[in-house]
C-alpha cells in the first residue's frame, strides 16, 4: 500500500492550545509518544521481543535503546505469557510497563495473564490495586504473512470486563491515544495495524493526548453513517470520496476506542443519517461490529430508514497468496458497494 495521507481528526487536538503540527509516519508518532512518556516518567519501561538493536518488528522502538538503555528498553526471550505476566507484576508494584506482543496472533499465548490477572485484579481484590499496563500489539492482513500473523482479534478483548481496547487509525490518534493509555491506571490493549505504520499524517508536537472513549467523526455526511476503526477507516474515507462523486454523502465515524465505547457519537450520527454500515477487517461472526450494530438496533431502531448492515472479513484464516489475501477483507470498493446498497 502506498503511504496514505490522513488528516488529524478534528477532535484530535481537542482541549489543547493547539501545538505546532507536522507530518509523521504512524510508527514515528507511536515512538514519539513512547519517548515523551519515558522522558516524563522514569517508571515507564518497554518490554518485548526484538525491540532493542532491531528497533521492533515495525521499527516503533528504533533508536530508543540508545536513548534509554537496555534496562528501560528491555528485550525479552520469546516468552509471551512470561513477559505479559511480568508486566502485570511490575504494574502492580509501581512501574508503568508497556509490553509489546509482536503480533496479536500471539496473544493466545498470553491470554491468561491479560484476562485472569491484569483485567480482573482490581475487582477481584476489592479495589486494593491498580494495573497501569499497556499491551502494545498489531494485527491485520496485507503483508503476505498468512494465517498466523494476520488476524484481527480485537473482539476477544472487548468481551473482557476490566480491559480497555484502543485501535488508532491515524498518526495523530496513535500518538494521542498511546500517551493516554500509558497514563491510564488500567490495563489497555493497544492494537495497531501492520499496514498503518507507513502511513503519514499531521501530528502535534509536544504533549498530545487523545482521551480514551472518544470516537472521532473523520468525515461528516448526511446520507449514511459508516462506523469503523483501524485500517478500515482509511478505506472508508477513500470510499466516501467515491460515494460523494456519486452524490452519496457518507459520514465516517472512527471509534478509536472500542472500550470504553463512545455510544453518544455513534447514536447521534445514526439518528442524523438514519442509515448505518459497520465495517471491520475481522471475520464477521462474533466481531465487534455485531456489538455496534446491536447497540444501534436496540437504541435507535425507530430512527433507522433501512436495516443496519455489517461489512467484514470472510470466515477464513488469512490466505498467503497476494491475490487471495486482498479478497478476504473489505477494500474501499467493497465499502462503496455496500453503502450504495444501503442507500439505494
Amino acid at each position: 500500500m502506498p503511504p496514505l495521507k490522513t488528516a488529524a481528526g478534528p477532535s484530535a487536538a481537542a482541549g489543547e492550545h493547539a501545538p505546532p503540527i507536522r507530518e509523521l509516519f504512524y510508527a514515528e508518532a507511536l515512538k514519539e509518544a513512547l519517548r515523551q512518556e519515558m522522558q516524563r516518567d522514569p517508571r515507564v519501561l518497554v518490554m518485548g521481543e526484538d525491540i532493542a538493536e532491531h528497533g521492533g518488528a515495525f521499527q516503533v522502538t528504533a533508536g530508543l535503546l540508545a536513548e534509554f538503555g537496555p534496562t528501560r528498553i528491555r528485550q525479552t526471550p520469546i516468552s509471551e505469557i512470561g513477559i505479559v505476566g511480568t508486566g502485570v507484576g511490575a504494574a502492580l508494584t509501581g512501574l508503568r510497563p508497556v509490553v509489546e506482543l509482536m503480533y496479536i496472533d500471539f496473544s493466545g499465548l498470553a491470554m491468561d495473564q491479560i484476562v485472569n490477572q491484569a483485567a480482573q485484579n482490581r475487582f477481584m481484590f476489592g479495589g486494593q490495586a491498580r494495573v497501569p499496563l499497556v499491551v502494545r500489539t498489531q494485527g491485520g492482513s496485507g503483508r503476505g504473512n498468512a494465517a498466523q500473523h494476520s488476524k484481527s482479534l480485537e473482539a476477544w478483548f472487548t468481551h473482557v470486563a476490566g480491559l480497555k481496547v484502543v485501535m488508532p487509525a491515524t498518526p495523530a490518534d496513535a500518538k494521542g491515544l498511546l500517551t493516554a493509555a500509558i497514563r491510564d491506571d488500567d490495563p489497555v490493549m493497544f492494537i495497531e495495524h501492520k499496514l498503518l505504520y507507513r502511513t503519514k499524517g499531521a501530528v502535534p508536537e509536544g504533549e498530545h493526548i487523545v482521551p480514551l472513549g472518544k470516537a472521532d467523526v473523520k468525515r461528516a455526511g448526511t446520507d449514511l453513517t459508516i462506523v469503523t476503526w483501524s485500517r478500515e477507516v482509511l478505506f472508508a474515507l477513500e470510499a466516501a470520496v467515491t460515494l460523494a462523486e456519486q452524490g452519496v454523502s457518507a459520514e465516517v465515524v472512527d471509534l478509536r476506542s472500542l472500550v470504553p465505547l463512545d455510544k453518544v457519537t455513534i447514536l447521534a450520527s445514526v439518528r442524523k443519517t438514519r442509515r448505518v454500515l459497520v465495517v471491520h477487517e475481522a471475520i464477521k461472526r462474533g466481531g465487534y461490529g455485531a456489538e455496534i450494530l446491536s447497540i444501534v438496533a436496540e437504541e435507535a431502531f425507530d430512527d433507522l430508514d433501512a436495516p443496519p448492515k455489517r461489512l467484514a472479513g470472510l470466515e477464513t484464516p488469512i490466505p498467503y497468496a497476494q491475490h487471495l489475501e486482498k479478497g478476504v477483507v473489505p477494500q474501499a470498493q467493497d465499502i462503496v458497494r455496500a453503502a450504495l446498497e444501503l442507500v439505494g
Partner: protein, 320 residues
C-alpha cells in the same frame, strides 16, 4: 535460633493451623460459600519463608493461600470476613478464599490459576531491580504449577535478569488427585533449577528450622543482588485437596499417617522442649492466646455487614 524467633515461628504456624481448622468448621456450617483448600501440614513453609520478609517485600500466593497470607502478617478478622462474604473482608467479599490479597503487607494476592502468580512475582522483583530498591519478591506455588509454562518462562527471565525473587515450590506430593510420582519423570524437582542457571535447593518442609535457614539464605542472596533461587520444600497436606475431597487417589492409611508422622507443629513442640527452648506450658499458653484471638476474629467477621452491591464501572476501572 533464639527463643524469641522460635516462639514467634511456633505462634505463626499454630495460628495458621487453627485458622484452617476453624474455616473448615465454618464451611461445614455452610457459612462459607464456594470452596476452601486447607494448608494444614504445610505451615512450616510459609512461616519459615515469610519470617525473613519485610512489609515492603512482596509475595504471590495460591488457591491454598491462607497460610501465606497469615505468615505475611494479615489480619485474621479481615480474612474470615472475606471467607464469609462480608464488606469488611480483605476484598469486600468479591474474592473469597481463592482470592485474598493484602497489599498493605505486600501480599499481591492468592491466585485461582495454577502458576498464575509466578510471572507476577517475577514482575514485582523487576520493579525492585528497576527502581534500585532492596525489596525481594517471594513466589509460592505447588508441585503442580511446576509443569505450567509460566513456571518455565518466569524462571528463565529471573535468571537472565538476575532478579531478586525466590521461587518456593510447596511439594505436597499431589496436584489435586495427581501424584508427583506420575507428573514428573524426576524424583527431585529442584533439579530443574540447573537448566535455568539458578541454585536449586531441596528442603524438608516439615522442619521449620530447615525451611527458615534455606529461605534465609535465598532471600539474603536475592536482597544482595545475587539473583533468584528455586526452593522445593517437601511436605504433605493433611486434608483433601479441597473441603469434601473424597481422596480416592490415596489410601486412608496414607492420609492418617501424615497427620502423625509429618506435622510441623508436633515436630516443633518436640525440639522446642528437647532443646529446652520452651516448656509445654509456655506453648500451651501460646495456643490458648491464639484460640482467643481466633474466636475474637471470627466474632468480628460474623458481625460485619454483607458485601455491598457492586458499583460499575468504578470497581473494574481505576480511571473512569
Amino acid at each position: 535460633m533464639d527463643k524469641k524467633t522460635a516462639l514467634e515461628l511456633y505462634r505463626v504456624m499454630r495460628t495458621i493451623r487453627r485458622f484452617e481448622q476453624r474455616s473448615t468448621t465454618l464451611f461445614g456450617e455452610n457459612k462459607i460459600w464456594g470452596t476452601i483448600h486447607s494448608y494444614a501440614g504445610e505451615e512450616a513453609i510459609a512461616t519459615g519463608v515469610c519470617a525473613h520478609l519485610r512489609d515492603d517485600d512482596w509475595i504471590t500466593s495460591t488457591h491454598r493461600g491462607h497460610g501465606h497470607c497469615i505468615a505475611k502478617g494479615a489480619d485474621l478478622g479481615k480474612m474470615f470476613a472475606e471467607l464469609l462474604g462480608r464488606e469488611t473482608g480483605y476484598c469486600r467479599g468479591r474474592g473469597g478464599s481463592m482470592h485474598i490479597a493484602d497489599t498493605s503487607k505486600g501480599n499481591l494476592g492468592a491466585n485461582g490459576i495454577v502458576g498464575g502468580g509466578i510471572p507476577i512475582a517475577t514482575g514485582a522483583a523487576l520493579t525492585a531491580k528497576q527502581l534500585g530498591t532492596d525489596q525481594v519478591a517471594v513466589c509460592f506455588f505447588g508441585d503442580g504449577a511446576v509443569n505450567q509454562g509460566t513456571f518455565h518462562e518466569s524462571l528463565n527471565l529471573a535468571a537472565i535478569w538476575k532478579l531478586p525473587v525466590v521461587y518456593v515450590c510447596e511439594n505436597n506430593q499431589y496436584a489435586e488427585s495427581f501424584s508427583t510420582k506420575f507428573a514428573f519423570a524426576v524424583e527431585d524437582i529442584a533439579l530443574r533449577a540447573a537448566g535455568y542457571g539458578m541454585p536449586g535447593v531441596r528442603v524438608d518442609g516439615g522442619d521449620i528450622r530447615k525451611v527458615y535457614d534455606a529461605a534465609g539464605e535465598a532471600i539474603a542472596r536475592a536482597r544482595g543482588g545475587g539473583g533468584p533461587t528455586f526452593i522445593v520444600a517437601e511436605s504433605h497436606r493433611h486434608e483433601g485437596h479441597y473441603y469434601g475431597d473424597p481422596q480416592h487417589y490415596r489410601t486412608k492409611e496414607e492420609i492418617e499417617s501424615w497427620k502423625t508422622t509429618f506435622d510441623p507443629l508436633l515436630d516443633a513442640r518436640t525440639w522446642l522442649a528437647a532443646d529446652a527452648v520452651a516448656s509445654e506450658s509456655e506453648l500451651d499458653a501460646i495456643d490458648q492466646e491464639i484460640e482467643t484471638e481466633m474466636e475474637r476474629a471470627i466474632a468480628w467477621a460474623e458481625a460485619g455487614p454483607p458485601a455491598s452491591p457492586i458499583k460499575l464501572p468504578e470497581e473494574i476501572y481505576a480511571t473512569s
